[in-house]
Point group: C2
Chain length 217, copies 2
Amino acid sequence: MDVLVPRPTKHQPERGDARTRLLEAARDTIREKGFAATSVDELCQAAAVTKGSFFHHFKSKEALGVAAAEYWAETTTAFFAGAPYHAPDDPLERVLAYVAFRKSIIAGDLAEFTCLVGTMVEEVYAISPAIREACAASIFGHAATLEADISAAIRERGISSDWTAESLARHTQTVIQGAFVLAKAGNDPALAREGLDHLDRYIRLLFGGPNKKKARS
Amino acid sequence: MDVLVPRPTKHQPERGDARTRLLEAARDTIREKGFAATSVDELCQAAAVTKGSFFHHFKSKEALGVAAAEYWAETTTAFFAGAPYHAPDDPLERVLAYVAFRKSIIAGDLAEFTCLVGTMVEEVYAISPAIREACAASIFGHAATLEADISAAIRERGISSDWTAESLARHTQTVIQGAFVLAKAGNDPALAREGLDHLDRYIRLLFGGPNKKKARS
DNA sequence: GCTGCCATACCGACCGTACGGTATGGACGT
DNA sequence: ACGTCCATACCGTACGGTCGGTATGGCAGC
């Protein structure tokens, strides 16, 4: 339990520097135990760095929280940009493929698929505006990546809607975040997948469900 | 599964007994700062009791968390049982009235309308099974109160569904919990109301397609 | 190419305090 | 007289944060 990773002593070790290791440890530990219940010492141990190193890279625990949220935003952006749901030609199919993809990655331990920034913002929204804003940037930034496809789907299908692409994009995140809460409460990932099924059904109904005629404009 | 009933004392009848005051302080403080970031001393100060009194009523901070979740379940059950959304004769109207009611109480400060057990379970699901289960009982117990109306609506409208009343009832809580997460991230209650609008639209679509928005009846 | 110098990265002992929890005893109703 | 309820004083420790220090690598001057 003592030795985890041989510490690279070079200055530019490929993605293996102490700062990154701390951010990864923060990501994993905070997702499991929450921000407040995660101690600096614990993070240092998990990342195999010392406290001196921690406070060299982050001026406070709160700063680590902000950096962790930003790191989360960066890594998830890259992850979803490279995901296969962008393949379909039809924009609505891309949106539905996104939902299916989100559902497909809900597996294994809860802390492996739940959302770091959703977890963090629940507990620190009132006590740390800096962390709250970093979490908001991650969530709403990710939601924004769906807007183009939703807008294109609205246009292509000639839907007349009393809702906007922006609003539906946000709602996907609402359902996903809520699905994680119920999965945690019930300690069952299937509860999260269930929420995604309803989201899929909702989107299909919005874009011409059984009783809806497609009105080509 | 019986729950200890807080008994009134004659000691300081005007303020309620210490146990109840502590539970109310816990409800308010934990909703704002989270469970881990709320200290026992802080709770004692807010409830105007001493630490001796705290540990007389609760054997540990974790036990207080469990009791707070149970207290939340009791008070919210009573609150929703007395709410006006049960009035309509039509079961579907009752379900929609529930959603509208949930939307209507989203106002003011975030900590005034967000869900204690949803907040708590996000941060303690992995470290306190007891609290997690108490939160689960509150969430899923509340969801279950919607099942009868949803089932009746399915029966009455004669729709064939590939989803169950139980599942849709849970989904209402998924959307509500997720709506709170986004509202906290964006620091804006309107984000929560937006989620409820989508939920309303989804339920209407499920029960017979493009019903226009309910005219004020 | 060695030397001196500096910035960055990292180390680990240490500090003040605030934390959860305990021990003990008194007030009060029954 | 006894159990419930509450108050005060206190304890051990784990917390976030500090500080003096070392190791490494880049670079300029010569």
